[in-house]
Symmetry: C2
Subunit: 325 residues, 2 copies
Amino acid sequence: MAKTEFDNQAFRQALGSFTTGVTIITATAPDGTPVGLTANSFNSVSLDPPMVLWSLAKTSLSVDAFNKTEHWNVHVLSQHQQDLSNKFAAKGKDKFKDINLEDGISSAPLIKDCSARFQCRNMVTHDGGDHLIFIGEVLGFDQQPLPPLVFQQGQYAMTARKPWEDVNLSSEPAAPQCSYNEDLLGYLLGRAHFQMLYRMRKVLDQQALEDSHFFALSVMNIQPKQTLEQLNTHLDYTGHSLSEEDIDFLESQALISKIDNDSYQLTDSGRVTSLHHIAQAKAIEEELIEELGAGDVMALKLMLKRLIHKTDPGLPDLWSTQEQQ
Amino acid sequence: MAKTEFDNQAFRQALGSFTTGVTIITATAPDGTPVGLTANSFNSVSLDPPMVLWSLAKTSLSVDAFNKTEHWNVHVLSQHQQDLSNKFAAKGKDKFKDINLEDGISSAPLIKDCSARFQCRNMVTHDGGDHLIFIGEVLGFDQQPLPPLVFQQGQYAMTARKPWEDVNLSSEPAAPQCSYNEDLLGYLLGRAHFQMLYRMRKVLDQQALEDSHFFALSVMNIQPKQTLEQLNTHLDYTGHSLSEEDIDFLESQALISKIDNDSYQLTDSGRVTSLHHIAQAKAIEEELIEELGAGDVMALKLMLKRLIHKTDPGLPDLWSTQEQQ
């Protein structure tokens, strides 16, 4: 298995299997110029005394500044700071332009809104091949409950945390012997969707609305003017469709009204009803963010969007502004 | 913001914001005893020469062995090796029992089925407060396409990778001005579910089966003997239900048959039909794993299960063996 000749590209790739957070390390050069760069080579070293380390390519333009400064700050970036990560990973003189800084222990720049920050005093700089290893004592730190930005195999990533207890849907250790199992993606997506909709249904039932009515009102909230045919084009992939009777029902409830021969729009009352649906959907989501974690729900949404992209059968763009004109 | 007094617990927590992979580091003590421990303090140092580092608590039982050995191996663990991570994180003498090892460059134990492995020669051991920093030259490495195990804020985690291009569902940069947006979790879950089901529907249409029929056959595949009432108890949360006419239809298609006054089961033909559905669902899933990445789909499933747990309205356990008896 072991390679004796070194393939640099393959070595980089193998190292990429080790997942890391993303940090920006900052310092102030002796002439007062702020310097900063993106690094994922950060790690903790010691708790007592508190020490951390990171490494810097000897070819980096900032080597001189870091060699001459006594202090540097480590910023563990949050998911919202991906642009900042890209900015500090590139070469550039104006990296600190438009960035709000805070006052810290030393003169090293201190960036806001990070997942965690460590203000350090350099203890030792150690030779590490084509890199220098900076080992520092942590003088101060802080943390915010912001989901951290993650890097793996050359890509940014989000994390879905695994609870310490197993997450099984069956109440029994051994599920029935059959070809289905609770791990089937299609089953999980269906059950998750229907359970979310089930929570909506309490509100819908009070209004005597069926799922298809709810979907139709949602479409008309996004695309104000719809013919029955247009509505059904948007609903087709759900297996739901609206009949003339459904339209009559929604009109009788004063939720929609005819605006010309073929088209319908939400009435004021229909708009209020739809806003209540959205408020309910958002309340369910807020509750889940509270229970599952903001970063975890972000990861779920990202994966759903990636899946939707890959499985899109060519749906008409619900979010297009074209239909509105 | 900076703390002057050090709260060890808070410092640990702040360090936990920096996401890492999980490694097992192994060596052979001078007396031939294999030693190994779980560490997330690994990081790359240099590409040329190839160098990596990790750190070890001075209080570790393995310190002596690592101080006296010339070689150690780093194993970047895969998602499937979480148990191994726990085993090597605990104290114990028989850590290597029942573990298949491979021959490597040195005598240091080499564990199979990792995301990546680095076989190293120790170059320098550096003092790092309450830890020792081991810096080694990489003599050999390999990598397998296995999703890496991740550690963040004291928990194992999975990663959902972010493509370099933005993942937007709308074809236009600015979505219509309305209270809905494509980022609503309920919308994403619904659309993902319906798009998956849409792919199933081609097969279902050929068999003239409606969604509710498909759901009913699936339930009867898992729970062989079902009354109409039992079936509908399992389907209730989906908003679907089966009528007497649906049962008559499925009987007329020879997919189910009556086994006593009230109960139905799949016929041989019904079982084959249901197996085709499962095969189709698994084929769709395999295609998505290919396109999205195995680890990413694992992360999606984990989040769906966590969401299902939190939103379960108290459904009857579809996976129970009780009903079968």
